[in-house]
Amino acid sequence: MVAKSRSTTKDASARYSPVQILNSEGELTGPSPVIKDEQLVRTLKLMIIGRSFDQRALSLQRQGRIGTYAPISGQEAVQVVSSLCLSDDEWMFPTYRDYAAMYVHGMPLRDLFLYPMGHPQGGRAPESVNIYAISISIATHLPHAVGAAWASKIKGEKKAFMTYHGDGATSEGDFHEAMNFAGVFQVPLVTICENNGWAISLPRERQTHSETIAQKGEAYGVAAVMVDGNDILALYKVISESLDRARAGDGPTFIEAVTYRLGPHTTADDPGRYRSQEELEEMKLKDPLVRTAKYLRGLGLLSESEEAEMWEEAKSLVGDALKEAESIAPPNPDFFFDHVYAELTPNLLKQRREFVPEEAE
């Protein structure tokens, strides 16, 4: 054997570039996967519901009717399509920003409002809905997703599991340990990195020195793909293939979906401090909703009035869900004693007995 030159990040960038089928103008740049017309229309419709939810939540937060909220605008395509690719009996491990994904997988819009309201029911999917509880601590849920997928494999099921995380999350040790286990034990898991360009104020380029996030999959011998995260066709292709691989026992896949966070990190954040207006304007041109609508119009699947109707329907859906959410009674003030252990310990029994709730401010 002779000396090989050292690998550089240049090599990696040549190997990884985003799979794209539908460009920003809504034009095909390659052959589309086979997707039924209704499914295409449904996809847009769900993305519009996501956007409407987002807009409503933002305005509610400004009015003080909900607490801190992490907006999803710009990321609807990857959330909606990935979730549509997952079967109802399969499991999703989301983050605090995956409202649209959770909605599509069965979480009621009402409960999605309850979450930023800080109501405990917002943290708990209905019994029949296979969505894991959100952990606020970045990347901590990734090993859980691996463990659940692994358990499913041990049980001999043929289910796929899906989990989400941000670009920032890839810097945490738990991302690494989870991915390594996923590779070693070949678990049926698809991990989707929603690379939205920012982790609060840190741009993707300063989060890690690798040219792509996708190439991190190589560290674990895990199949990896980079995909245009605002392109529903590419997403359908890449994600459904990956889920099928998982179901067939062919192991995990790591997907970098390149998208963009059009809003602030959360309602507590002011992106004007660290990000330029120019960047934002440029990225708005890649808006997945605009692109998808253009494509559907081009196919003759969407008229202007139909689109307007989708928005109206979405708004009333969201409005109804909000009303429901606001009518849900607050929990008993001592509810939190009941969910520490299966049975109250002597300490907790005593403390709950002595507990007197404070009056509201």
């Binding site: 499991w91 405990p120 029911q121 943290g123 708990r124 999917a125 019994e127 894991y132 509880a133 959100i134 952990s135 601590s137 901590t140 990734l142 090993p143 859980h144 997703a145 691996v146 463990g147 659940a148 997928a149 692994w150 358990a151 499913s152 041990i154 049980k155 040790g173 738990d174 340990e177 989870a178 390594n180 286990f181 070693v184 034990f185 509810f335 939190f336 009941d338 969910h339 520490v340 252990y341 299966a342 310990t345 002597p346 300490n347 907790l348």
Partner: protein
Amino acid sequence: MAKLTMVQAINQGLKVAMESNPDVVVLGEDVGRDGGVFRATEGLLDLFGNERVVDTPLSESGILGTSIGMAVYGLRPVPEIQFMGFLYPAFDQLVSQAARIRTRSTSRFTCPITLRVPYGGNVKSPELHSDSLESLIAHSPGVKIVTPSNPYDAKGLLLAAISDPDPVVFAEPLRLYRSIREEVPEGWYQIELGKAKVAREGSDVTVISWGSLLPTCLRAAELANEEGTSVEVIDLRTVSPIDAETILRSVVKTHRAVVVHEAPKSAGLGAEVAAILAEEAILDLEAPVSRVTGYDTPFPLPVVERSYVPSDRRVLEAIRACIKF
């Protein structure tokens, strides 16, 4: 009934659990082919195969983190961390994750994990191989911690921990792995979690301890007895949730208390025991509550560890001082 050491009792407990419940899986560094660095998992791989007995990568947070996912998905994982000092890298997954899955999901998801981890010094190990972290865990709601002081309790508490619907740290006193042999019943039996045991009855002073230092306390009690002092020794067994009732019942009788542990003194679990007494039994106390503990330094090198871990002598002196007060 066979006479077993503690590590044999644990090994037998694991076998019994795996035989009776197919959801029990064992995972950790070197737990498979090697049978565990202390042989606690010896033979399990051959009996139950490599889907249920898994050698993992060197990755404590990964071991515990994936165990959480397994537990949520219906298995009963029994992960091993090689030494308690290597629980630190998995601490986040333990106290912010395993311990809070139930809270976070208002009990939709639960996390029945039994995390086995050897602890304690005086076995001539390198740094971080002798740490005792029971106090850190006792301060973290949502997780329990149990530690046996003898082979019989080890197996019974282990099986109770594996049956528990919530995460339990099962802390195994390294020093006692092979130092005692006693009769251990075959098959399944459980010792209820949360219940302390009066390991020796007495009337003049109560010594409260757990796990690794129980034999020390019993020896000191015997020495005190020769001097005419009757010592009651309480073995907490479950460190968290603590069995305040048993402690109080004893101190109300003896009016004197000494707490013994090998973790550092400050904010150690001895402080919790003393605080319970200061809060609930102040009128019964006829002497200061004294704490015989490790010093407020990192666990030192083997050359001096014998002087760090509470000895028979130090416990005896504390008993004497308490009686004389």
